[in-house]
């Protein structure tokens, strides 16, 4: 028989972490709702949300947050899939390429935004290249509010560049658990590389693809400093607005309303995630 002390041990070991999670995540969630819904008299109010919704930047922030998601997530998955499939071939020198592809993992979205700023700015490297090729005479203003689609495009590129690495390692980890026999079997039956990818690899990789898709969707709602570095407030996004309302307008209540909105979107997607995970748990061999 195990002693009482022994059976209490795991709870004791987990208690500190659970305490931190409760104090710094669960409690602040309620506080965010309080800040967002409580009026100065202590009663329930929708005033903060009305202020948020009627702000000129709100609809744009909502629109651009979703537009960025729609453009960035598929691009990341395609690029990351290409990288993961290449590395998975284990060609000579593949570990060097893995290291290179993984570098953006540890680069913040702020630093990524600034790196791409050096490329897209008025006198930046892209304009310099286009000039030396004789395509333009004077710099094209990629980051001007007059060229919104171009500004948007630069953000899509910068954020795809950064987060592709995260998707790549998720997919590569997924590829590693697929038995190599499957690939060899496809080869023996004479499948071309394309057919093998489409009909053997992708279906087996579905759990990882789903995971990557949902993780990136969740984190897309937190996109903010890459946007700030490249576009300032020309392209507003939800988390960026929370930052502005807090830091520039000194209004924690409307900032909290934005925080609540981002949380609600996240929770919604997380629920979807666990529904999907339940069905794919067995295939993924995840515990």
């Amino acid at each position: 028989m195990r002693s009482k002390v022994e059976s209490a041990l795991p709870y004791g070991l987990l208690a500190p972490t659970l305490l931190v999670v409760v104090l710094l995540i669960v409690v602040p969630i309620f506080q965010a709702f309080l800040l967002a819904f409580q009026g100065s008299d202590g009663g329930f109010t929708l005033a903060q949300f009305q202020k948020m919704v009627h702000d000129t930047a709100f609809l744009d922030a909502l629109k651009f947050t979703f537009l960025l998601l729609i453009f960035i997530v598929p691009l990341q998955i395609i690029l990351a899939l290409a990288m993961a499939l290449l590395i998975h071939k284990r060609f000579r020198g593949h570990s060097i390429f893995l290291y290179i592809y993984a570098i953006p993992l540890a680069i913040s979205d702020l630093a990524a935004g600034i790196a791409w700023l050096s490329i897209f700015t008025e006198r930046g490297y892209l304009n310099s290249i286009l000039h030396s090729l004789g395509i333009i005479d004077k710099p094209f203003l990629f980051l001007s509010y007059q060229n919104l689609p171009a500004v948007f495009g630069t953000i899509v590129i910068a954020e795809s560049w950064r987060a592709t690495a995260i998707v790549m390692v998720i997919l590569l980890a997924g590829l590693e658990v697929i038995p190599r026999d499957y690939f060899e079997a496809a080869d023996v039956f004479g499948a071309t590389a394309l057919k093998r990818t489409l009909f053997v690899v992708l279906p087996l990789l579905r759990p990882s693809l789903q995971n990557a898709l949902i993780i990136r969707t969740i984190f897309a709602f937190q996109t903010f400093s890459v946007v700030l570095a490249l576009a300032g407030r020309v392209i507003p996004v939800l988390t960026g607005e929370a930052y502005y309302w807090y830091a520039a307008n000194r209004n924690p209540n409307v900032a909290a309303a934005y925080a609540v909105l981002v949380m609600v979107f996240t929770i919604f997607i997380t629920i979807m995630y666990f529904r999907l995970l339940k069905t794919t748990d067995a295939e993924a061999g995840y515990d």
């Binding site: 290409a82 060609f91 290291y99 993984a102 570098i103 790196a115 700023l117 000039h131 560049w161 590569l172």
Partner: protein, 286 residues
């Protein structure tokens, strides 16, 4: 073997040798192209950070280091608040590593070694809190921190970073301890060690390299975190908070130097933990 395959696959396909060369060229071509895509922005921000201030606004620019200079970097490092913010970033990251490993590793050990009631629920709650946008909770936390005297301190930032890192650390360390054979631990206990002694003398040394990698992973989370650090601080900025809050009113060369300065640790750390990449980000981030 190879020639017989070539025959059996018929005349429609190119001979094996030629096909092999073509495949290799395609393979390395694609790999190099994707590597260039990844490396180009890093090379160009380094080029910007190591040019003269005048070079940053030169037009058109050369893609080669034709006006190499440390002026811009020196200007950035000597700018008001920068060195202090680098110091703050390092202190916050170290506090976060210490707190999240000291708190998280025992929990990870519990998940790895024990069967107990509610284990699944607890694991699930970590999975969920891992995905939760914890940084955005700095908005309500800022209000609380003001009352507690934690606002605008490295402690306050480290607390939020610990909350962000802990769910990752606990699941990572659980994975690490599962990887240490239970037999060794039990053998030590039969030979007279207490559970604690067995952990310290047998499990810990074996888990140390992976734990170090987990510490670096935590460092990266903290070093890169922008939103909470900017919301929670005013005078005691971390480096990303310092750069972000001065984006609008700083010259381009300041931003480029700052961007490069933030990237350097990334290059080093990814190299140090390259063996653990798939374990860290591949299976834990999802």
């Amino acid at each position: 073997m190879e020639s017989s395959l070539a025959i059996s696959r018929g005349a429609k396909r190119a001979p094996i040798a030629w096909r092999h060369v073509r495949d290799q060229v395609g393979l390395y071509g694609a790999a190099i192209l994707l590597a260039l895509w990844t490396l180009a922005p890093i090379y160009l921000i380094a080029l910007s950070a190591f040019s003269t201030k005048a070079g940053v606004s030169a037009w058109p620019k050369s893609l080669l280091p034709t006006n190499f200079s440390t002026d811009t970097m020196q200007f950035f490092i000597n700018s008001k608040g920068v060195l202090q913010s680098v110091g703050n970033s390092v202190v916050v990251a170290l506090l976060t590593i210490a707190a999240s490993l000291l708190l998280g590793a025992p929990g990870g050990y519990a998940l790895a070694r024990f069967r107990f009631k509610g284990k699944q629920t607890i694991q699930l709650s970590f999975l969920i809190s891992k995905m939760f946008p914890t940084a955005i909770l700095s908005v309500p936390l800022a209000v609380t921190f003001l009352q507690l005297g934690l606002y605008d301190t490295v402690w306050g930032v480290a607390l939020i970073h610990t909350a962000m890192a802990l769910p990752f650390v606990i699941l990572l360390t659980a994975g690490i301890f599962v990887g240490v054979p239970r037999d060794l631990e039990e053998a030590a206990q039969t030979l007279g060690c207490t559970r604690m002694q067995a952990f310290v003398r047998v499990v810990l040394p074996l888990a140390l390299p992976a734990l170090a990698a987990a510490a670096i992973f935590t460092f990266v989370i903290s070093w890169n975190e922008v939103f909470a650090a900017t919301i929670i601080t005013l005078q005691h900025r971390t480096l990303p908070a310092q750069v972000l809050s001065s984006l609008n009113d700083s010259p381009l060369y300041y931003r480029f130097a700052g961007g490069f300065f933030m990237i350097v640790p990334a290059l080093i750390f990814i190299f140090l933990i390259r063996k653990y990449l798939l374990n860290m980000w591949g299976s834990v981030v999802r």
